[in-house]
């Protein structure tokens, strides 16, 4: 008996060590990841914080780094993202509802599903090429705000569809049955029971998708968005620029002053990104209904 | 909480009470057919026994169904098993009433041996025991049940008295033997009816207190 107890004791001690070792490894990995990110942020902050001023956010680009501002890029980004959301959100959510609630499990439904999953992984520059061919040339929208937003909408659509489907799927089947059992139609069930519950999830997924899009430069460069814009876009078809392009442009200049501008613009972009994420968290909290299943 | 089951138990109780009333009438009629030398009534009593038998079967069936459907526990369980047993006690009483009526038919064929005095007294007493035993059952009255149990001694005493009296008749005149034996039987039947009433009373004690007092010297 005592022999057994001693053996047991040894096993337990060994396990406790293994457990501790694993925890230390995990914490180390986390520190490396956070450390890298923090270094980057601090570096950018050191470089750009001094340049941030009202003059910077309210001026148009200039040939002189100290007079240049990011106004047209900031406004362009905001316009573009608003339009992208207007295009992508309804289409994405509607597609998700169709695929999740209506489509029968046939071979073409499966083909569509696989395609959407793959589209989410396609490099963004490919979307740029598609946008260039489709919107800029075929539909003759030129290098406009409209072309940029439509291209971005294509880019985020698969992500919105996938995350919306996930949110719809997380609504318990028992609630749907409860609704159907009262004689509700499919649409009534979706509108009154499923969507309200899935909405916070759909919203979060979509905002994360837009957060990805806001930092994309390559598709915009591909469709030929301009880099030097000294005016604000006044229509859907007017040329525009956006923060990532402006940053890209400044970084590739030889003068050190423009590099500082780029860092400052990165900070502006980060602030917008953080605001969007904060909005996602806020909306999620607000619409979150307590589900105790 | 009022249970649906309680209504079904109440219905079973009603059935027992109906059967009890019928058996009381059977005993009364049997004795009446003897004392008043009414052979038609005796035949009617014999006929009516099948009604009691049918009720016994009904109560048994209802009880088994109640057990199967409700898996009764504690006092519910005791109530149903008691009801089943009371029903067989009552059924035997009715058989004995039938026997009394049969003897009455035979006795009514011959001149009366003597005026019946002790037999009606005994019958009256036995009937009261039956009634009180059933009352004790309905009202879950243990005191009344104990009274019935103790009253049985009185009936036993009467049985002996009647027996001795009839033996003296038979010793005097052997022509009386057949009739005297038949009357002895009747007193024996009554005594057994009282025994069954006692059994019911003992069942009532079990029903209320959960104590089995049969076959114990109390």
């Amino acid at each position: 008996m005592s022999l057994q107890t001693a053996a047991l004791e040894r096993v337990i001690v060994r396990r406790r060590y293994a457990d501790r070792l694993f925890r230390i490894c995990a914490v180390l990995m986390l520190l490396i990841a956070i450390g890298t990110l923090a270094t980057l942020l601090v570096d950018v902050f050191m470089a750009g914080a001094g340049r941030l001023s009202w003059q910077f956010v309210s001026s148009f680009p200039s040939r002189k780094p100290e007079q240049a501002g990011a106004l047209s890029a900031i406004v362009g980004t905001l316009y573009m993202m608003t339009l992208t959301a207007l295009f992508a959100f309804p289409i994405g959510v509607a597609s998700a509802i169709y695929l999740e609630e209506y489509a029968r499990r046939t071979w073409y439904a499966r083909v569509i599903e696989v395609n959407i999953a793959n589209l989410a992984g396609v490099p963004s520059i490919i979307y740029g090429l598609l946008g260039l061919e489709l919107f800029v040339r075929a539909m003759r929208f030129d290098r406009s705000l409209l072309s940029g937003s439509l291209t971005m909408a294509l880019l985020v659509l698969p992500i919105i569809i996938i995350s919306s489907r996930e949110a719809l799927r997380s609504v318990p089947g028992s609630l749907r049955e409860g609704s159907y059992a009262l004689g509700a139609s499919r649409w009534q069930t979706i509108w009154h029971q499923v969507l309200p519950l899935a909405f916070p999830g759909i919203l979060t997924g979509s905002i994360l998708a837009f957060s990805r899009a806001i930092g994309e430069a390559s598709p915009l460069i591909t469709i030929g968005a301009l880099t030097y814009i000294a005016f604000l876009p006044d229509s859907l078809l007017s040329p525009f620029t956006a923060l990532p392009i402006q940053i890209f442009n400044w970084v590739s200049r030889p003068q050190a002053g423009f590099h500082v501008n780029a860092a400052a613009a990165i900070l502006v972009l980060l602030v917008i990104l953080l605001l969007m994420n904060a909005a996602a968290v806020y909306l999620r909290q607000r619409y979150q209904k307590r589900l105790s299943f | 909480m009022e249970r649906h089951f309680d209504e079904e138990l109440k219905a079973l109780k009603e059935q027992i009470l109906q059967m009890g009333a019928l058996v009381e009438a059977q005993i009364a009629n049997a004795i009446k057919s003897l004392v008043e030398r009414d052979s038609d009534l005796a035949r009617l009593t014999i006929q009516n026994d099948h009604k009691v038998n049918a009720m016994d079967v009904e109560i048994d069936d209802a009880s088994v169904r109640l057990i199967a459907r409700h898996q009764p526990m504690a006092k519910d369980l005791r109530f149903i098993t008691t009801a089943m047993k009371i029903s067989s006690e009552l059924e035997r009483m009715s058989d004995l009433a039938e026997n009394i009526a049969e003897r009455a038919l035979e006795l009514n064929e011959e001149p009366q041996l003597k005026p019946y005095i002790d037999i009606p007294r005994m019958a009256e007493h036995a009937q009261r025991m039956v009634k009180e035993a059933l009352d004790a059952f309905v009202n879950r009255n243990v005191e009344l049940a104990w009274k019935v149990i103790h009253d049985d001694d009185f009936i036993d005493g009467l049985t002996h008295q009647i027996f001795r009296e009839l033996v003296s008749f038979m010793l005097e005149d052997q022509h009386t033997i057949t009739r005297a034996i038949r009357i002895t039987f009747i007193s024996k039947y009554l005594e057994r009816i009282a025994d069954h009433a006692t059994n019911i009373a003992e069942l009532v004690v079990y029903l209320v207190e959960g104590k089995i007092i049969r076959h114990t010297d109390t």
Partner: protein, 255 residues
Amino acid sequence: MPTAGETAFDIQNLNCWYGDRQALFNISLSIPDRRITALIGPSGCGKSTFIRCLNRINDLIAGCRVEGQVLYKKENLYAPGIEAISIRYRIGMVFQKPNPFPKSIYDNIAYGPLIWGVKRGPQLDAIVEESLKKAAIWDEVKDKLQQNAQALSGGQQQRLCIARALAVEPEALLLDEPCSALDPIATAKIEELLLALKKTYTIVIVTHNMQQAARVSDVTGFFLLGELVEFGETGQIFTNPKDRRTEDYITGRFG
């Protein structure tokens, strides 16, 4: 209106498949009006599949196929042109796990009437109150109608679901193991409720608890491996079953 005890559901040669797997084999039986019919049997015997054919809620399951006849009050529920929605309006259902909507108690009950065209107002208030009373839960919730229904206890939630089903004034009520997630007291309350409701509604209850079937039902059916082994008066099934398999099951000698 037919008198209680007459046939409400008349089922003839019902077969049901989930994909390639056949779940029900040639089920024929008739379910009496305004009585409680219990369906018992081991897990996977098809009793739930069967009850889900009675309001066509199985239609919602991909790959589910039904053949045969289900007549309700002489009307074939599977005839072409019959809307599943209108069937479910007449034949309510309560599920195994209480599934109140994550809304207020009031809105849970009001949902059915609202989708069937009742407008918000005094009439709807009256329907909500009456339904909650019928389901014997009014006294417990009348002061908190605007509270979230999911804050109620399991037993209360299930009675709320019964009230929700009653709010659209169905003629029949199907219950798929309504007490399996509840404690004995809550179960007893639901059983008493069903016994009270059977005066007005035809009730079919699937239960894996055969004591429950014995306690509440008038008629019992025993399912095994997708077949209806025996169907008869409950007292007879539980005291003197005709089929050896029924006897083995109800006496616990199964397998």
